[in-house]
């Protein structure tokens, strides 16, 4: 058993992949609690997809190097995030409509760019579905730096983010800069998406943001605890997913997301049964 757990770790790429999966898992899960509580799942999914043209351009500009991909993806993510806000405000459209327009448009642009350069396609699919085992030391450094930055900002503005998410009316009577705080939160989501690109890819990204947080929301009624539980679920899923990927030879991103989903279903079933049992008697306080 122990040998089985240690065997994959003799490979440096496996160790780097696991570190990346753990960091990305924690960052996405903690930030994901706000995504879940504020009902921004569609926004997160859209933003992940909208990053694709940035990835493609970065890839073309850098001739395959990872650095430009990261920074172009970051710029695209931030641009799309603010673009969605600007469109929905000025055009007086419902927010999900403007999210849909920008998301599909950007994703189409990304696909168009990729189709122009056929020989790169194989590599670019890594950004669609993730390639956590291809994480380089340089990637890992960027992941750590941005991951820590995101967590620090969430920690620093914990009470403000909680307030604007729970009761915007109080936030505005207290003259909190709501708009700026919302943009900061959106920027953090954009950053976390770019940081996680390599782990699960744009198409599965939303699962990292919402699945652990959603499972945690079933288990606790306290925000800080929800963040911790979500992070624990994400870390467990990241590590378990990579072992599954190693031994069953399945795509790493998919393995991580599947583990996460199974955990969610498990938690959901457990809490549903617990609630049914308690429905005629005392209330369960998990």
């Amino acid at each position: 058993m122990l040998d089985g757990l240690l065997a994959p770790l003799q490979y440096a790429f496996m160790v780097r992949g696991m570190l990346a999966a753990v960091i990305v898992g924690v960052v996405c899960a903690v930030l994901g609690t706000y995504v879940v509580l504020r009902g921004m799942a569609f926004f997160g999914d859209a933003l992940a997809h909208a990053v694709l043209p940035g990835v493609a351009i970065g890839y073309l500009v850098g001739g395959g190097a990872r650095g430009p991909v990261f920074w172009f993806a970051m710029a695209t993510a931030l641009l799309s995030a603010f673009g969605i806000g600007a469109v929905s405000r000025s055009a007086k459209l419902k927010q999900d409509t403007s999210i849909g327009i920008i998301f599909a448009g950007m994703f189409a642009l990304g696909v168009a760019l990729i189709s122009m350069v056929r020989n790169y396609t194989a590599d670019l699919t890594h950004f669609l579905f993730g390639d956590v085992l291809g994480v380089s030391s340089h990637d890992l450094v960027l992941t750590v730096v941005f991951g820590v930055l995101i967590l620090l900002i969430i920690f620093a503005f914990y009470k403000e983010f909680m307030l604007i998410s729970f009761d915007p009316t109080l936030a505005s009577t207290l003259r909190l800069p709501i708009r700026r705080l919302e943009y900061l939160l959106i920027s953090l989501i954009a950053m976390s998406i770019v940081v996680s690109l390599q782990t699960v890819g744009v198409t599965l990204m939303v699962a990292m943001l919402i699945t652990p947080a959603a499972a945690a929301s079933l288990l606790t009624r306290k925000l800080s605890r929800m963040m911790i539980i979500a992070a624990a679920i994400a870390v467990f899923s990241g590590i378990t997913g990579l072992y599954l990927s190693y031994y069953l030879n399945i795509a790493s991103g998919a393995a991580i997301v599947l583990t996460c989903t199974i955990l969610f279903v498990f938690v959901w079933a457990l809490t549903t049964i617990a609630r049914r049992r308690a429905s005629d008697g005392t209330r369960v306080n998990l």
């Binding site: 403000e160 729970f166 009761d167 306290k222």
Partner: protein, 283 residues
């Protein structure tokens, strides 16, 4: 649940906010006009509130009660006119608390009663800081004042309607608000919960917190408030209940949707025939 209400913080507005001088009017509204795309919501409203008084705002649905509160709280920009709180624009003040009619908060949000009350102190604590011992003491006092100490660590969905209202009052206390604007807090509350709410309001009076409450229940307005304001887009009357609730004024406000019976020389006895089902106006 048997609880005696105590008033642990006996602070006055000057102690809470040294700039606030006693004797001055806390709120002054001058020629306030607010319009929506659909037309005028408030037309040329002027009045003043004295520190520590309790005023009921009554009027039919669409009379502009919520609009008035939002304008006072600085959430709506008036078209013309001026709202000043202790002589300043409402924007400069955190000493106003506004409890909206339909609290659109997510009751399943993972926060406890204590967390919500602490939110009132967000601005006082300041950015990048954590709550100090003083903040925690103020929050504990506020929760005790409204009689929710036993519920402090409960998740908020476990509260009854009356307890939810009292939680928001505790939050306003934690905010050290001198002026509380409450939009129909008694709507949907049973009689014991209403009694508890008014016990809390009596406690607030001792702390000289000025309270403005929008109501549908004219009897309650007449019996439990220092002054009443009768509103229907314009100010029909303001003053002592028996001066304002005259047959003429009430007819102006409600038309024939209300029956006014004058019991001898007593305060007009008002029999509501209108409301109830239409109390849930959509702002």
């Amino acid at each position: 649940m048997k609880q005696t209400l105590q008033v642990p913080i006996l602070s006055t507005p000057q102690q809470r906010h040294p700039g606030h001088r006693p004797g001055t009017s806390i709120l002054s509204v001058r020629n306030l006009t607010v319009g929506y795309e659909s037309g005028r919501a408030l037309d040329n409203i002027s009045f003043e509130l004295v520190t520590g008084e309790r005023m009921a705002v009554v009027g039919p649905n669409g009379a502009g009660k919520s609009t008035l509160f939002k304008a006072i709280a600085g959430l709506l920009k008036p078209d013309t006119g001026k709202v000043s709180v202790f002589g300043e624009d409402p924007g400069g003040h955190f000493c106003i608390s506004y409890l909206p009619q339909h609290n659109h908060v997510d009751w399943n949000f993972p926060v406890t009663v204590r967390d919500v009350v602490m939110m009132g102190r967000t601005r006082k604590i300041g950015f990048l800081r954590r709550a100090s011992g003083n903040d925690h003491a103020i929050v504990s006092n506020a929760i005790e004042t409204v009689g929710l100490s036993d519920f402090a660590m409960r998740q908020i969905s476990q509260l009854s309607g009356g307890q939810q209202q009292r939680m928001f009052i505790a939050r306003a206390l934690a905010q050290e608000a001198d002026l509380m604007l409450m939009d129909e807090p008694v709507t949907g509350l049973d009689t014991p919960s209403q009694t508890e709410l008014f016990a809390v309001l009596d406690a607030l009076r001792l702390q000289q917190v000025t309270v403005m409450i929008a109501l549908h229940d004219l009897k309650l307005a007449a019996s439990s408030f220092d002054r009443v304001m009768l509103l229907k887009r314009r100010l029909i009357g303001i003053g002592k209940p028996d001066e304002v609730f005259t047959r003429e004024n009430l007819n102006q406000a409600y038309g024939d949707r209300i029956q006014v019976e004058v019991n001898g020389s007593e305060i007009p006895f008002i029999d509501e025939t209108c409301c109830g089902e239409e109390e849930h106006e959509h702002a």
